[in-house]
Each structure stands twice: as C-alpha cells, then as structure tokens.
C-alpha cells in the first residue's frame, strides 16, 4: 500500500491541515474497531512505540501523522501543538519562524525559501524515509498571503526537484474579491505560475463558496422545520477539536472542515476496499488531458444527513444531481454551463454500479462534454462511507468554468498594477534586473491558458 505525506504551509494551510488530521483519526476510529495498525491507516499515519521507533504491524501504539508543518509565524502551529492533536505531531516535523512573511509572496518565496531550503529538504526526506512506498504529496496552502503562497510554491519546486516521481496534489485556497490583504492579487498570480508549472493537480477552493455552504447548512439547522434535525456526526462542517476549543467558534473552522472532507474522500478509494478502486495516480491520468490543464473543480455531497428516521432518506439520485449544481461547487463556478473536459465520480458507501450508470445516463444530456471526450467519465466505488453517512459523492471536474475565476484574478492584478501599488514591495525581493514591467509577464501564461480553454469550446 502506498503512503501520502501532507505538507501544510502558512496559517490557512495549517488550520485546514489540522482539521484534516482530526477528521482522518475519527474516520479510522469508526472503521477500525480492533485497534490494529492496518494498511488503510498506514497511508497517512505511522505507528510508533514509546521510544519513537516505527512499528509496522500489530496493535496501534501511538499514531503519528505523515505531515510537515511549516509557518513563518508561530501562532497557529503552537495552537495545534497545545490542542488535542498534540501527540499526533512531533517537533521534528515542524519549521517555524516568528516574523511572518508580511503578506508578500516574494518574502515567502525568495527570502524564506532560500533561508530554509536545506531544513525543508531534510524534514521532507525524513518523512519520506518513514514510507516504504511514497506515492503522493498533498500541499495545502492559501494563495493570497505570503507564507502559504510564496513559501508554499517554493516548496512545490523543491518537491519536484527532490522527489520527481512522487505526485504533487495541491489544495489552494484562492482569495475572495473582498479580501482585506491588498497584495493578494499579486501573490495569487505569482503563485499560480508556480502551480501551473510544478503541480500535477490543483484543487482550487474559494472561501466564498465555503462560506455559502456553511450558511446553507446553518439555515437548515436553524429552520425549525419538522424533521430537519441533522445527525451531528454527519455534518461536513463538524470539527471535534483539532484546535483548542474556543468559546466562539469562528466560521473558518466549519469552512476548513469542508476542505478536510474533500481530501479524505479523495483518498478513500486508495485506503479502503471497494468494487472499483481508484488510486491517486489514476486521478491525474484520467483528469489531466494536457499537462497545463490540471485544475479540478470539486463538489461534495451530501453536506449532512437528517437524523429523523421517519423522513425517507434523500434519494441517491438527488446526491448525484446536487454534485453538479453550482451551489455545491467549492469555487464560484457553474460547471453545468461550461465545457467538461473530464469528470470523475468518487462514490463511497452503499452504492452500486447500476446506481452510478443510471445517474450518468440521466445527467449526461444536460452536461456539455468536449468533442473528443464525449463519454469522459471516471468512476470509483469505495465500500466504506464517511462517518455519519451511508453514502457520499465527491465529483472532480476538469471544466472550463475555472476560466472566469482566473480571469478575475488577472483583472484584480491589473487594477492594482495600474496604480503601481505595492509593486516595489514585491520586486525589491526579486532579482535585481527584474524590472517592474516584467511582473506583467507572469500574467501572460494566464492569458495563454484562457486561450487554450477558448479553443476547446466549439
């Protein structure tokens, strides 16, 4: 069985990462009743004894996450280490600083990148050495700030140089329009260039979409309609305490949980058994028809399960329909009205192949697929459902609906650049001969990308 390593960078990356580890432990706890260190656990966790030596089989002694936590401020990582998950990480897996990257991509990439390169390589190697077959790195970061964006994409480069055969899956949180970080458009575009060249697959996430989903769930819970009590366990936003519980839970925790669920569902078919398995290398193989077109729009359903046993369970077919609705996408996009290059359905739980086929037949006619991939569906069936659900669906689409998101980024970049706002802050950290104008060059690939998508639309 192959293993994966999570590299969480910056405040956002670490907060999401923390939710992920909490969720992963809960999921395995509900499936693994006997407490044996099995192959499924092995994917993301090491089993160590009291002296810290790895144990490959037998009873679970102490589980350690296969993770590297990096932040140029200490706040978030310290919180994690003082919270309920403190025993899941050890100090050898961390790199922190105190000063932060000042929301500046160039500081994260150039300054901290060069300063910490050796340490980063060493920590990654150590983590990789604990794996007997390392298949994939999951990088979690945000695009708008300085550390996650700059240092995060620097690490992406390092991963490609040092571990060229290991897949690089990147979960990138894109800034919203009302982001209060002024430089976020610069940071995002500069980071995107790196993602374009060095990531195998990118799962873009937008905070606005996560927020909308959280609101939807809250509305549901508070509606007071009869039969709308939700099974707490099943909430896609539930967090039982990755980070120390505070009196007033921020909405970010709920939003981060959605992303954590995404990552868990993505890897479920490679961890657990099923009648049609899908390994992580199959995601890239099936969903990336051309190397640069590796941005996948994701949607998760169901968001919750109703607790009332008298209400008939939401029909399976509704789950499939929801996955294609724009309300369930994790970026502000509507794939139904754009062009599909490829689509993958990762189903978990009590669902059979005939259910999937029936729904594909039903939905096919309302979706537009590119001419050379008219039946471009990849499916997987994992028998183990997520905690609190009897079945779930993660849809991953390579769809031209990402283009507006990226064009919007370009526009925000240009608005800022026209005023020459903060340009010096960025270029002062880059090579001396990099003129102010050449920042614009970074935009050019985005324009090419857009052209590529345009060419596919009939």
């Amino acid at each position: 069985m192959a293993q994966s390593v999570v590299v969480q960078v910056g405040q956002c990356g670490n907060q999401i990462g923390c939710c992920f580890w909490d969720l992963a432990l809960r999921e395995h706890a509900s499936v693994n009743k006997k407490g044996i260190y099995d192959d499924a656990l092995k994917n993301f966790f090491r089993n160590v004894d009291t002296r810290g030596t790895g144990i490959s089989k037998g009873r679970i002694c102490s589980l350690k996450a296969r993770a590297v936590l990096i932040d140029m401020e200490e706040g978030v990582v310290n919180e994690i280490l003082q919270g309920p998950l403190k025993d899941v990480f050890d100090s050898k897996q961390l790199i922190t600083n105190v000063s932060g990257s000042g929301n500046n991509w160039a500081v994260g990439y150039k300054v901290f990148g060069s300063h910490y390169r050796d340490q980063i390589v060493e920590k990654l190697r150590q983590t990789a050495e604990h794996c007997d077959c390392l298949q994939c790195f999951f990088l979690i970061h945000s695009m708008g700030g300085g550390t996650g964006s700059g240092l995060g994409t620097f690490i992406l480069n390092v991963l490609e140089d040092e571990f060229p055969e290991v897949y690089r899956f990147v979960t990138s949180v894109f800034p919203s329009g009302e982001d209060d970080v002024i430089t976020s458009p610069y940071n995002s575009v500069l980071a995107m260039k790196e993602l374009n060249e060095h990531a195998d697959c990118v799962l873009p996430i937008e905070n606005e979409s996560l927020f909308d989903i959280v609101s939807k769930i809250n509305q549901m819970i508070n509606s007071g309609k009869p039969g709308t009590t939700v099974k707490q366990q099943s909430l896609v936003t539930l967090n039982e305490g990755g980070i120390k519980k505070k009196l007033d839970e921020k909405p970010f925790d709920k939003m981060n949980n959605i992303v954590a669920n995404l990552l868990l569902n993505l890897t479920s078919s490679s961890r657990f058994e099923g009648s049609l398995n899908m390994d992580l290398n199959e995601i890239s193989m099936n969903l990336v028809p051309f190397p640069q077109l590796h941005y996948l729009v994701s949607s998760l359903t169901p968001l919750y399960t109703l607790a009332d046993v008298n209400i008939p369970p939401r029909r399976l077919d509704q789950m499939f329909s929801d996955a294609f609705s724009k309300d369930y996408q994790l970026i502000q996009a509507d794939p139904k009205h754009s062009l599909y290059l490829a689509c993958a359905l990762l189903v978990r739980g009590n669902v059979q192949i005939s259910d999937i086929r029936r729904n594909i037949e039903r939905l096919k006619s309302s979706l537009h697929f590119v001419s050379w991939n008219q039946e471009g569906w990849k499916t997987s069936l994992c028998s183990v459902p997520p905690v609190g659900h009897s079945h779930s669906l993660l849809a991953l689409a390579n769809n031209t609906c990402v283009k507006p998101t990226f064009m919007e980024l370009k526009n925000r970049f240009l608005r800022l650049y026209k005023k020459k706002a903060c340009v010096f802050d960025i270029t002062s950290f880059m090579e001396r001969n990099l003129s102010v104008r050449s920042l614009l060059k970074f935009l050019s690939f985005l324009v090419c990308q857009a052209a590529l998508w345009e060419s596919l639309t009939p």
Binding site: M1, A2, L276, N277, N281, Q352, I353
Partner: protein
C-alpha cells in the same frame, strides 16, 4: 491436463474468484441429473483441470493472483479461505504497493519489465507441478492499467516461454460510458498486442452482462458482484468437463482446445455456393461456432439450425465450422443449459466503436503525454490502430 488461470488486476482477480467459486459449487452439486458414477467422473475431471488437492483435502485453485496493489488480492484470498470449500495456494500471488494508475504504458513498460522475472518464476513453479499443461487462461480487463498493460506484456512473455501451449485471454470489455476515461486507448493498445500473442480472446462485455442482470435476472440494484457472477457462470459453462463428439466415454477434452482456428480456403477449389432460403435473415456471419449442451435430454436436442450455411462464410463448410460438445451432467443446478462460443461478426460493432472513440481522442492528442511519459510513442498508437483496422476489415469481409 491442467489449466493455469492467471488473474490480473482488480477485475481479473474479482472475476477469477467467482469463476473458481462457481466451479467448486458445481463440483459439489448433487443435482447432476445423471448417474453417481457419471458425476464422479465429472468431478475428477474438473479437479484435474482446475484444482490441486492438498493435505487438508480442501481443493486448491490452480491459479495465480497478480496485481500491482495489495487490497484486492488480500480480499480475494480471504474470501476464498472463508468459503471453506476451496482456497488459493499460499504462495500463488504476486503484488506490489502501487497500482498502474489506469495507464497501459505504465503496466506494459514499467511494471512488466520490472517484475518479469518474479512473475515468470511464479508461473514456472506452478507449471512444473503438473504432469501435463492444457494451457493458460488469463483473466484481465482492457480498460485499466494492470490487467491491460501488464496483461499484454505477460501474454507475450508466456507465448515466448511456452510456444506450444494454448493461451486464451478472458478479456473484459468495459461499459461504453466510462469506467475509465482513457479506456479506449488502453483497449486499443491491449487488443493489438494480444492479437499477436494469444490463441483466443474470449470477450465479455460489461454492457451486455449488465443487461442480462437487469432484464433476464431482474436484479434491481446491480453490483459488480452480480456482473462478475454472470461472467463466472458463462465461463464455467464453457470450461467444465464435457464429452466431445468423437470421444463419448472420457472427459479428455482440453477445455481450452477450441478448434476453430481460421483456415483459409484451399487454393484451387471453387468457393462453395450458398443455397439457402434463410439468407434473407441476415445473421452475423460466423467463422466458427461451438455449442456446449449440458443436462437432461442432451442427446436428443436438435441442433440442425446451427448448421445452416447462411450462418457461415462461403469458404467453410458448416461441418468444419460448427462443433458440439454434449454432457449429461447438468451445470450449476440448471436442468438444461446451453453455451455458445462464437467467432463471428458479433464483435464488429463494439470493436469499431472503441476504435472510433480512441481515434477521435487521439486526433486531438488528449492524454497522449501520459503514455509518452512511459515510453509508448505516437507511432505505437498508430501501429495499434492499423492492426485493429485490419481486423475490423477482415471481419467485415466475411
């Protein structure tokens, strides 16, 4: 006369398990509709072909389980052991930690050469245990990476290592609407390569089997297990012991010895005239058909319809092209059952469809970089297309 079954990839292993399970159930079936002695001969013959007997007297399947990731093999071994009726050999499996990623090129060019020695040694050890080898039955899917890519590589190797053995591939044809997006590429590459090394490709189409489950068996929520069990039943009904028309006293038939290799018309002889009123019915033209009848009243069944010249090509006499095997002993509790193995134009439409879709995708070069990464170049694709176009043309002209 032993048959070595090689189960490749998730599909191959899942189906292989069902095949042995079906045959074992059939073996112990007391409702054979025949005499006790007859039953005993049947059982002995089946065991000789497909099972070993070990000290515990639980039959051990003559099979090798091969996959590039461990989950399916572990499950399969467990299920067999739990059944209590049969099991797999302790050392009959080979697996790795990371799968082929649905990539034919990875299965063929990376996993193949890397594990060639280990896998061939495993096969050789198995073969050496038998007095005589009937041949190999390789179960694989065309859509994925291991079954398809490694399957093609392995079949080539087997052909080189055992040039005189019969090699038959059970090829699972994927659902038309995606199980895997690159399934058409994988299928085209697999078929073109298998064509050069295999003796026979027995094709099972998921779409067709699905319809059988839905319409004939009325299953509401069809799972892969249901599909696999139907395929296993079909295979079992072909492989289980039979009498040949020449030899009515012994089950000596090689279950893989399906004698309908295509023989070209002898030069100098005029093409036979087809005078038959049934010509208007437009059947798919067959090169050859094999009919297997099992159960009650099997010897009184009238199979004249199968000898109609309208079914066959002009350069073959129906007597050469049609073959029957009949057995009293019923299969799988069916009082009467019939199985037809046909080498005909049946497969033209599915084959043409797959080639068409693959070509359409190839014309835009989509996904090709995933294959060139592992050494399968555009020329290899073009060669494969050429081979398949020739096959399609040959069948069209029957």
């Amino acid at each position: 006369m032993s048959v070595v079954t090689v189960q490749l990839g998730q599909c191959g292993n899942q189906i292989g398990y069902e095949v042995f399970d079906t045959m074992c159930r059939d073996l112990h079936n007391t409702q054979g509709f025949c005499s006790k002695r007859e039953n005993e001969i049947y059982q002995a013959s089946c065991k000789e072909h497909f099972f070993n007997e070990d000290k515990s007297e639980v039959p051990v399947a003559r099979a090798l389980l091969i996959d590039m990731e461990p989950k399916v093999i572990s499950q399969t071994l467990l299920k067999a052991a739990h059944s209590g009726r049969w099991k797999y050999g302790q050392h009959s499996h080979f697996c790795q930690r990371q799968g082929s990623g649905n990539n034919w090129a990875y299965g063929y060019s990376v996993h193949g050469p890397k594990h060639e020695e280990s896998i061939m040694n495993l096969i050789q050890r198995e073969v050496e245990e038998y007095d005589s080898l009937s041949g190999f039955s390789i179960i694989m899917s065309m859509a994925g990476g291991t079954g398809s890519g490694l399957g093609a590589f392995l079949t080539q190797n087997l052909r080189d290592a055992y040039p005189n053995s019969f090699i038959m591939n059970q090829v699972i044809w994927p659902y038309g609407t995606g199980e895997v997006i690159v399934q058409n590429y994988n299928s085209v590459l697999t078929l073109s390569h298998l064509y050069r090394s295999s003796d026979a490709l027995l094709v099972h189409e998921n779409d067709v089997v699905h319809k059988i489950c839905a319409k004939l068996m009325n299953i509401k929520q069809i799972s892969f297990r249901d599909v696999n069990q139907v395929i296993a039943h079909q295979l079992g009904s072909v492989f289980q012991p039979t009498y040949s028309s020449e030899d009515s006293f012994q089950y000596r038939r090689n279950p893989l010895g399906i004698d309908w290799q295509v023989r070209p018309p002898l030069s100098g002889l005029p093409a036979l005239e087809k005078v038959s009123p049934n010509k208007e019915l437009r059947f798919n033209t067959s090169i050859a058909n094999l009919l297997i009848l099992r159960g009650k009243d099997v010897h009184s069944a009238d199979t004249g319809g199968f000898k109609d010249p309208a079914l066959y090509t002009s350069w073959l006499q129906p007597s050469d092209a049609f073959c029957e095997w009949r057995t009293h002993r019923a299969f799988n509790k069916y009082e009467k059952s019939a199985a037809l193995v046909s080498n005909s134009q049946f497969l033209l439409k599915p084959l043409d469809t797959i080639v068409g879709k693959a070509w359409n995708m190839f014309a835009s070069k989509a996904y090709v970089h995933q294959y060139t990464k592992f050494g399968i170049e555009e020329e290899d694709f073009l060669d494969s297309f050429t081979v398949l176009e020739q096959i399609v043309a040959s069948y069209c002209n029957l």
